[in-house]
Symmetry: C2
Subunit: 654 residues, 2 copies
């Protein structure tokens, strides 16, 4: 037995042909990871999401019994990769729909598109004063009269150009400095980085004809990692790139990934994945722009607290356990190489400060970008991603909370949900004749529905009476079957009973695309998700005695798509009932905020002040949250008086 | 030929039996170094000091002709190791007197004794606030109400105990912090180090019952390296140790060593030597006091600019070349391990700031220790070692200069000169009957004469008319031969013609010791040395219009011995003619100053201010220096009006 355990077997995954050599008894999901195949796995390998189905073509294996496979599937040797052990050499087929690998290029294209959905930092708000800068320094060579040592000569010269009362120089730079100054005849290009109150001389080189200096700003999303290449000499964004977070096969949300890492002692692996993703983005950007990686001297990251912890391999376990704390909220700048990031070997890695375990630096970036912390009037900032974080406040105070709303509006847990990429329905209207008008990203054939499309779908189903205030398909329709429909529409057979209960056909199949459905389970997920966000908003508003009419603006950030109909967010009861002109869709404020900070020390100070001053409400332990959540599990809400602008149509229809 | 050059030969050195394998053509001095034998070499291998004599017992070699060997020596196969190439396997005998190796233990004992010659920092001058400190920090563990992250929790707790507005933490500490805090239940011992305006968290450990934290203060002398072990929890000196600088076989003065390093690309080797010396001292201290090297968290060094450059492997070459500059005068704190120092792997290495290429941090330490920078009245600080550095000033201004006086008062270039160690004559008086009374260090048999004894010798020979004002043996004595002597003495045969000219027997040989002589060359060296110091003092005084009567104090530092008769320094014209009570011998102020700085941030600030504010006079390019030097090449001086208190006896005798 011990002997056989030591045996190694080769597992070949078709159709890619990728192979992994693993010990006998290795779980097939792990073997897939090893082969570089990212199997979709929402539950993180716990065997209850049923997403990691594969077909065994050949070889011996042992599978735990599961209710997630149909008798047909079992007969066809379909197994859950996370519940199956390798007992011999094997050949395994990965169904196309389950392998992220298979459509990697498309996905990256999509993600790239998503990366562009970013509000540029408002010009002129913060003075241009980047955290890392490079400039030419010309000194007069020493003479008998001016015998200042090289090191101090350089400091004096630097201080003539920038404000740097406290300076540091690494030992290696110090050692090479004398030779370099002599060789360059005291004309050098100096790169300095700001490190929490001190200015570090990162690099000294002979002065060239032109100063080239770049940085990368990164939004570390749970799902998508977005990188912008910035020219640090003038602050412009040179190029953008994005990719899916390859941790995704350890769980779709970060709580799952933390559990996976803890149970499998996979913290290093978790770090490697995200670092590799970031490195891939950097290399892609650098190659495309023909930039030497050595000329990238800074990287700045914003993201949720867990992602930042994974990136730095800081203990993330207490993020999900009481008392829900981070290992570090204000991560000091470190050398990027220490975290494995492949830029200039002395380049710095900055992380924006975060507020709490569930309110990360992406939210601080959002507050910075929307500038709600500078306004007299009250604003709300909502970031809808895997979680729904909410900030409320003004120039005097800021409160925040995080609802574990689930990633329904990111397309997860929704049958035809998808992220904002090519083919995603981002706009959808039900016309009076019951037909549906839609727009897809890239104007291609419809593949699924992204966030803004899902919001439209939920709102349109509701306002057209297809679903009722509880989010159930209209009982009238249900009871009468597909033939009997609400008076104004001719439904044909669009509401049917599927494997997962009632489902409504939004778009019928055609030669070039499949049908697009929305199921009762999808709707339940979307309603829960919006209810979580609204309940969080309510708790903050109630705690601060804020009324809807007090709100001057609501900013929605997230990966909804380009054409978000913000009004629908009120219609379904996700946002408080304020006039549509007060609601602004602001896109990816995480990367925008990271860029703002990168380009100005004052912005970093502002971000630090925001992170420090924000009061965090822990909704898990908040007595009122669960009530608010239950009350919000209606369309738009149990209390219609909160939604006067919506109530009219609801009452009318009823 | 090319073939034979590649051959390797073994050189065996007797009587130690140490061996080295070297390529054909290797210089024998280099082979000795490789075998670990430190041959005395003043000229650094240039072939003109004649100190590296060895005897070839066996083997083929090639030697350059030299005038430094007598025909007898040549017949006995004596060669200069630095002028001899290895052409076969060889056996070589190292004369006992020339091998530092042979008497290493005695030397270390001596050096250890020398290390005690140190003024302790004045208590209470600077508040106790060490550059590195360790203390217990107890935090309340996080709760849902208090969800501050670990990193910020630690910072808050540290800031409750010490003033640390700007803090830094290394990435590795940051990563281990969460695990450590949980394991230690939020009660930890924190070590912090001050790094130029920031406070770095160097180490975090579970809190023990007792805080142990040590540092080592080092005087990096050209000849002697002295180390004091300091308990950082209370500032006491626990133990002291010293050793000879093992760079010594690359040249006795640092200029020679720089040339050697440059010509042989031996900068690494030079650093290895001094780092090894420091490490040996640290290990000796730690073992004797049963201290774990991990508990030594700081090392602080003062020394001349060249030695600090060697220690850190900073380019020292321009110290000796116009425009005579240092690579760094204000060396930032670095991790000791980066320089190869074996203390706590995150421990810091501090170097006191220096003023110029020829006025090092040892002089800054001296000014700090004597506190002349705080006094209303004018003082002079003189450090007499291999060079003679002089500082003049008060609380308003400080000027300084360095005379390349040569190490005569360190015993170098003096036939029976030696450093202040066991058997060194440190006190010498010529009695009226011509007999000589003397005291040796350790009250053992006389071995040689150290600094204070040499000063006595010069003064006594002069005041007793044995040498005249030009430093020549009295022509009357010389002309009359050994039989005819000055009237009051019965000289016997004490003035004789030796190999190196006239020589005067101070102490006749006995059963247990050799005779102790002083030669004309010795006296010339001593006069030149004192003239250099006095000329430097004169230049500074003239430039600042300072008169002898303006001087409130003169401080002499250096390794003279315990019983320096300071009055003699005026008699020979080394110091200005001030009353004896104004002259203070202050011992090793270099290590004392290093300790003062180690134990107080305010002292470091003071040292930095001293280094910055001191005006350096380059004597090489100073128009008046050479004149002053020539005028000072008399006893006490050509201008007797400068020495009224000495002039009387001179005139009387004449």
């Amino acid at each position: 037995m011990a002997e056989s355990k030591k045996k190694k077997f080769t597992v070949c995954f078709e159709p890619s042909g990728l192979k992994a050599e693993v010990h006998s008894g290795t779980v097939l999901l792990e073997a897939a990871h090893k082969a570089g195949i990212y199997l979709s796995s929402i539950c993180g390998g716990d065997g209850y999401c049923g997403k990691c189905k594969v077909i065994i073509d050949q070889g011996q294996f042992q599978s735990r019994p599961t209710t997630l496979l149909t008798p047909d599937e079992i007969r066809q040797d379909v197994v859950l990769a996370c519940q199956t052990k390798v007992l011999s050499d094997m050949t395994v087929t990965v169904p196309k729909s389950h392998a992220l690998q298979a459509s990697q290029i498309l996905m990256d294209t999509d993600a790239h598109r998503f990366s562009e959905l970013t509000g540029e930092p408002e010009a002129g708000v913060f003075e241009f004063d980047p955290l890392v800068c490079k400039f030419t320094v010309e000194m007069s060579p020493p003479t008998v009269q001016d015998h200042t040592a090289d090191h101090e000569r350089l400091y004096l010269a630097i201080r003539k150009q920038i404000d740097a009362p406290i300076m540091q120089t690494g030992f290696r730079i110090l050692q090479k400095l004398p030779y370099l100054l002599q060789q360059a005849n005291y004309k050098v290009a100096v790169t300095v980085g700001r490190r929490g109150g001190t200015t570090e001389v990162i690099e000294v080189e002979p002065a060239g004809s032109r100063v080239t200096n770049f940085a990368v700003a990164v939004d570390l999303g749970t799902t998508t990692v977005v990188a912008h290449l910035i020219d640090l000499t003038n602050g412009t964004t040179v190029d953008t790139e994005a990719t899916y977070n390859s941790q995704i096969n350890f769980g779709e949300d970060y709580i799952r990934r933390i559990i996976y890492a803890e149970e499998n002692n996979a913290f290093d692996e978790m770090q490697n994945r995200i670092v590799q993703d970031v490195n891939n983005l950097i290399v892609t950007l650098a190659e495309r722009q023909r930039i030497d990686l050595q000329d990238i001297t800074a990287i700045i990251c914003a993201g949720n607290t867990a992602m930042v912890h994974f990136l730095l391999n800081l203990d993330p376990t207490r993020i999900r356990k009481e008392p829900y704390i981070a290992s570090a909220s204000f991560v000091p700048p470190i050398r990027a190489a220490e975290a494995g990031i492949q830029v200039n070997k002395r380049g710095l890695l900055y992380c924006l400060p975060s507020v709490a375990a569930y309110v990360g630096s992406d939210i601080v970036a959002g507050v910075l970008t929307t500038r709600i912390y500078t306004k007299k009037g009250l604003s709300i900032f909502v970031d809808i991603g895997t979680n729904g974080e909410v900030v409320l406040g003004n120039q005097d105070w800021l409160v925040c909370a995080s609802s574990s709303a689930g990633p329904a509006f990111e397309g997860s847990g929704v049958k035809h949900g998808m992220r904002a990429g090519a083919g995603a329905i981002e706009k959808l209207t039900i016309l009076d004749d019951g037909s549906i008008e839609f727009k897809t990203i890239g104007d291609t054939r419809p593949v699924g529905i992204c966030g803004s499309g899902l919001l439209d779908t939920l709102a349109e189903l509701f306002v057209n009476g297809i679903i009722d205030r509880t989010g159930r398909f209209n009982p009238a329709i249900k009871n009468c079957g597909a033939k009997y429909l609400a008076p104004r529409f001719t439904w044909g057979s669009r509401l049917t009973e599927g494997d997962e209960g009632l489902q409504f056909q939004l778009i019928p199949p055609s030669d070039d695309h499949q049908e697009i459905l929305i199921t009762q389970a999808d709707i339940d997920n979307l309603v829960r998700s919006k209810a979580g966000v609204f309940a969080a908003i309510r708790v903050l508003m109630e705690s601060t005695q804020t009324k809807s009419e007090d709100l001057e603006a609501i900013y929605i950030a997230g990966g909804f798509g380009n054409f978000m109909n913000v009004r629908q967010a009120v219609t379904v009861g996700m946002l408080p009932d304020v006039p549509a002109e007060k609601i602004h869709f602001v896109g990816n404020t995480s990367v925008a905020g990271a860029k703002t900070v990168l380009l100005s020390r004052k912005a970093l100070k502002a971000a630090e002040k925001i992170a420090k001053s924000m009061t965090y409400f822990d909704l898990m332990s908040h007595p009122g949250y669960m009530d608010e959540f239950i009350r919000a599990n209606f369309l738009p809400h149990t209390d219609l008086s909160l939604f006067p602008s919506v109530a009219g149509s609801v009452v009318r229809r009823a």
